[in-house]
């Protein structure tokens, strides 16, 4: 599965810090995109690739924490590394609670940032992979007929064919046909596989 080159987004209102951070990240061969404000970032067209966000807490307009919340609301699950001039515990707690990867106080050690970035990208990458898998499952699931979806749900819940047939008011044979259809459409190699798929799909259900 070919993957797009990962990108690091840096948002800092301080030009020096922005440039320095960009330079540091580039030095390890990562692609970097810099923004002076949260709004600039939101407006920009971002590549579809594993990425992470190096975000200054204090920003003019939308603050770093504001942006974090906004992205969460938009289901943009880009990992965030916070950096701050004078961080404090409640702020970091807040940031971490909201899913920040790291909370770094300026000046930070270069390795700390780079480790965080690598970690974040990796997390994003896996997240993206999972996301892709779920999307595939979903796609497959969407290709099922309503009866097949019912059958798949009941199968995943561990009901026997006979039980399912009784519940659906049909014959065991018909259930078997549906079940085979589901297994095939969902690319499930085994019953366990299907159950796992169902669970994953169910997790994503709101």
């Amino acid at each position: 599965m070919s993957e797009a080159e990962p990108t690091v987004f840096v948002i800092d209102d301080d030009l020096s810090v922005r440039k320095a951070t960009e330079r540091l990240v580039k030095s390890v061969g990562l692609r970097v995109m810099t923004f002076a404000s949260a709004l600039d970032f939101l407006k920009s067209a971002r590549p579809d690739c594993p990425a992470c966000l190096v975000l200054d807490v204090r920003l003019p307009g939308l603050s770093g924490l504001d942006l974090q919340r906004l992205l969460a609301e938009r289901q943009v699950h880009i990992p965030i590394i916070f950096v701050t001039g004078h961080g404090d515990i409640p702020m970091s707690v807040q940031a971490m609670k909201s899913g920040a990867v790291e909370f770094l106080t300026k000046p930070f050690r270069d390795q700390a940032l780079l480790d965080a970035i690598v970690q974040a990208i990796e997390r994003d990458r896996s997240a993206r992979r999972q996301q892709a898998e779920i999307a595939q499952l979903r796609e497959r699931f969407d290709g099922l007929t309503p009866r097949e979806r019912e059958v798949m749900g009941l199968v995943a819940n561990g009901l026997l064919n006979k039980q399912i047939a009784a519940q659906l008011g049909t014959t065991e044979k018909t259930v078997k046909v549906h079940r085979a259809q589901v297994m095939q459409k969902m690319h499930a190699g085994s019953l366990a596989d299907l159950v796992r798929m169902a669970e994953r799909l169910r997790d994503r259900e709101p």
Partner: protein
């Protein structure tokens, strides 16, 4: 020729001489005659002919010159001719009247011989000089001498009479002396004097020589002027002489004289200044005793007597005047008494009684009243009335309109009015009332003071015509006195009222003075204490007695004395009316107190010299409060600076941190780039350049911080945090109460002192409390509880917590509470917590917030115990 000429000349000379002679003879006023030796007229000059009023000489030629003369003169002429014939010169004075007009002429006649060549008398020259004038003069002279002699005697008589007149001051004595004197020159058997009485047109006998008084001729008997012998002399201003009364009498009055045995008399008029005033009469028991000249003499005497009589009258007048003077004196005395009464009687009734008593002696009256005019009502009011005379109508207090009586006229014109007979002269209603009460005349005079009327003085009498103008004049004077007295009395009453008022107000003021909370002191112009009240004594710790020996400078703080004295001087010099000064007094015990003094100069009166009135208010407390306030203000200013600085410090930290972060990051990047196999040196160079720039930027910021901190060093000192809290609680008490907040302080005992800036820490506590109160402002469903707690935290810290029961913390913003400009309050600016944190951090402490287990939040800070001894 010559002889002829000579002869001619001689002839001419002779002729000239002749002519001259004849001209001289003609011109001479003397009568020059040539007589033969027998005395026959041969020739006469022209002048002589004219003098004798003779036209032609011829009829007289050869007539005897001697025969012209008569009597003694003829004999004298005869003798003179004979003398001349014998060679001598005869001379005589003779009388000869002129021929035609028969003018009497006296002649001085000289007869001298004209001799022939042999020296024998050939003819006679008679020169008569007219000496008529001279002769007449002589006559006159002689006559004059005679006259002189006579008049000498008369003069003497007159002198005697004069003497008599001068020395005898009664008519009887005068007449007697007159008779004595006259008797030497005229016969006097009887004598009398009469004076004309114009009112009855009679001649009244003024005096009769004593021994001859009869039934008729008595002093005081009046004889009619008309148809009387006396009247005749009086009327004609000529003496009347009867030489024989029995045959000559004409007037009936003369019968009396005849009966008395008078046979002749002379009546001389007494004339004074051309005007008859009476007669002087002398009579004799014999006939023909009075000549014209006697009459003349008597006339003269009459003039003298007239004078004397006039003098006598003058004397009488003087005597009358004396009486009058005495009368006036009496009036004066009355005035004086009135004056006395005025001075001594201070009630109107008493005064008026005294006045009327005094008046009674000089002016009779049955009524007396004083009225005072009331200009506002246009009425007169009886101020006083002689009480005996009060009637139902006329009584004290009666007020009547100005139209009612004559008073208004008197008042307006300031002139007295006298009514002699009210029955005829009544004019006003009051006149009729008076008349009804039996008053027939009155006198009303104005009471005037300084040209201003104040009322009237009224006297009334039952007798008609009781009051004369003189009375009115006198009363007017009394009126003036009384007016003055009434005015005085009014003034006195006013003064008395004022005195009472003054006494009362004095008492009041005394009470105010003594009981005033304000210190009151009276000082003389030298600043020496005259009197002080208790408050002042208390203020200064001196007694009034002790202060009396001192001046205000003695109790004024040394530094204030000069400026204070300058102010007082300005006051005394009239440059200002009063001044207010805040100054310090030094008490008796040496301590100081602040006072605000209101100083004014009270002008002097006749009895009291001017003095200073000083009201002193103790403002020590206020001053202290002011000082405290000033300090607080200074501290607040300081705090404001510090908080501003604190706020800046937060942002400054950020400002420094940013370039530092950039530097570190760039440095790291460079290292990484350089450790690569083919480092991009350009990139490295750029990074280093950025690092240098950021380093500079950071140092600039630090320089700025240093500059700020240099100026704004907080003053740290060991202090008890509980005091800080308590002060803050005091300051917020009203806010706590206003918001219905239940305050529960819980301050720990025995807390160690901390090192800090009191004001800054106070600011923090204040800020936390105010925030807490505001956080509870919307709470209505539970108690608003505010707990302020202090306690020891471990060994080295003191913790202060402010816990509220408000809306609590929004966890989303919990990290922003302490940011500058972050606020949850509608009116806030978001500085409080930011500053507070800056302050606490500057003290090496920490400030944070925690949500409560129950409602609300707790903001707390921990400070290290102040053991450090750093500057």
């Amino acid at each position: 020729m010559e002889r002829i000429t000579e002869r001619k000349r001689a002839e001419e000379a002779r002729r000239d001489s002749e002519e001259l002679k004849s001209r001289l003879l003609a011109a001479s006023e003397d009568c020059i005659k040539v007589l033969d030796l027998e005395g026959r007229l041969l020739s006469m000059n022209e002048g002589g002919m004219q003098a004798l009023e003779i036209c032609e000489f011829a009829p007289f030629a050869d007539s005897s010159w001697i025969d012209f003369w008569q009597g003694e003169d003829r004999e004298a002429a005869q003798a003179a001719v004979e003398k001349g014939r014998n060679g001598g010169t005869g001379r005589f004075v003779g009388y000869f009247a002129t021929a035609v007009t028969k003018q009497p002429r006296w002649w001085d006649v000289v007869v001298s011989p004209i001799r022939d060549a042999e020296g024998k008398p050939e003819r006679l020259l008679a020169v008569s000089r007219d000496i008529t004038k001279h002769k007449l003069n002589e006559e006159a002279l002689r006559e004059a001498h005679l006259q002189v002699a006579r008049s000498e005697e008369r003069r003497r008589t007159l002198l005697e009479i004069n003497n008599a007149i001068i020395t005898n001051l009664t008519q009887d004595a005068l007449l007697h002396a007159l008779c004595e004197a006259l008797r030497g020159v005229v016969p006097v058997d009887r004598a009398s004097m009469t004076l004309y009485e114009p009112s009855r047109d009679t001649l009244r006998i003024l005096a009769v020589e004593r021994q001859w008084r009869t039934d008729f001729f008595q002093v005081g008997v009046e004889i009619g002027r008309t148809n009387s012998h006396l009247g005749w002399a009086f009327d004609h201003q000529r003496p009347l002489v009867r030489r024989d009364l029995e045959t000559e009498w004409q007037f009936p009055t003369e019968q009396h004289l005849i009966e008395e045995g008078i046979r002749s008399y002379c009546v001389a008029p007494l004339i004074l200044g051309g005007k008859g005033i009476g007669t002087l009469n002398v009579g004799s028991l014999s006939k023909n005793r009075y000549s014209e000249s006697d009459a003349e003499l008597l006339s003269d005497v009459g003039s003298q007597v007239a004078l004397a009589v006039r003098n006598m009258r003058s004397y009488e007048e003087i005597a009358a005047l004396k009486d009058q003077v005495a009368h006036t004196a009496e009036r004066r005395r009355t005035l004086l008494e009135i004056n006395n009464a005025i001075i001594t009687n201070l009630t109107q009734e008493a005064l008026f009684r005294s006045v009327s008593e005094a008046l009674q002696r000089v002016i009779p009256f049955n009524r007396a009243a004083l009225t005072i005019y009331n200009p506002e009502r246009g009425t007169f009011r009886f101020l006083a009335l002689e009480s005996r005379f009060e009637s139902d109508y006329f009584r004290v207090g009666l007020e009547y309109d100005r139209k009612e009586s004559v008073s208004a006229w008197v008042f307006d014109h300031q002139q007295a009015v006298v009514r002699h007979d009210l029955e005829k002269e009544q004019e006003y209603p009051n006149d009729r009332r008076l008349l009804a009460e039996g008053i027939n005349s009155y006198c009303v005079v104005p009471l005037a003071v300084g040209g201003r009327s104040i009322g009237t003085l009224n006297l009334g009498s039952e007798t008609k015509g009781q009051y004369s103008e003189a009375d009115a004049e006198f009363l007017q004077e009394v009126g003036n006195q009384v007016a003055l007295a009434v005015e005085n009395m009014h003034s006195y009453e006013k003064i008395a009222a004022l005195n009472t008022e003054v006494a009362r107000s004095e008492e009041r003021w005394r009470a105010v003075f003594e009981n005033s909370a304000i210190g009151v002191s009276l000082q003389d112009v030298n600043g020496r204490f005259l009197a002080v009240n208790r408050a002042y004594e208390k203020m200064l710790g001196y007694t009034e007695e002790e202060l009396r020996g001192l001046s205000f400078l003695d109790v004024t703080k040394e530094d204030d004395r000069e400026s204070n004295w300058a102010l007082a001087t300005e006051l005394l010099e009239g440059k200002r009316e009063r001044y207010q000064v805040e100054k310090q007094y030094r008490r008796k015990d040496g301590s100081l107190l602040w006072v605000r003094n209101n100083v004014s100069l009270v002008p002097g009166t006749e009895s009291i010299p001017r003095f200073l009135l000083v009201l002193s208010e103790d403002i020590t407390k206020r001053k202290r409060a002011e000082e405290a306030l000033r300090e607080a203000e200074a501290e607040l200013a300081h705090v404001t600076r510090l908080t501003t600085m604190g706020e800046l410090a937060a942002s400054i930290a950020h400002e420094v941190n940013q370039p530092l972060a950039a530097i570190v990051t760039n440095g790291s990047a460079c290292l990484r780039m350089l450790s690569g196999e083919s480092p991009d040196l350009n990139e490295v160079r750029e990074a280093v350049a950025d690092m240098i720039r950021d380093g500079k930027r950071a140092s600039e910021v630090i320089a700025r911080i240093r500059a700020l901190f240099k100026k704004q060093q907080a003053q740290k000192a060991p202090l008890a945090i509980n005091e800080v809290i308590e002060e803050a609680l005091v300051l917020t008490r009203s806010a706590v109460e206003r918001n219905g907040v239940l305050l529960r302080p819980d301050l720990g005992d025995d807390l160690p002192p901390i090192l800090g800036d009191r004001v800054q820490l106070q600011q923090v506590v204040l800020n936390l409390i105010v925030n807490a109160i505001e956080a509870m402002s919307s709470v209505t469903d539970r108690p608003r509880q505010l707990r302020v707690v202090s306690h020891r935290e471990g060994a080295n810290k003191v913790l202060v917590a402010v816990r509220d029961s408000g809306s609590g913390l929004d966890p989303a913003n919990i990290d922003r509470f302490f940011d500058a400009f972050y606020t949850t309050k509608p009116g806030g600016i978001g500085m409080g917590l930011s500053i507070s944190r800056s302050i606490i951090e500057a003290h090496g402490g920490r400030l944070w917030a925690v949500p409560n287990e129950g409602p609300g939040a707790t903001f707390q800070f921990a400070l290290p115990v102040g053991a450090r001894n750093r500057p």
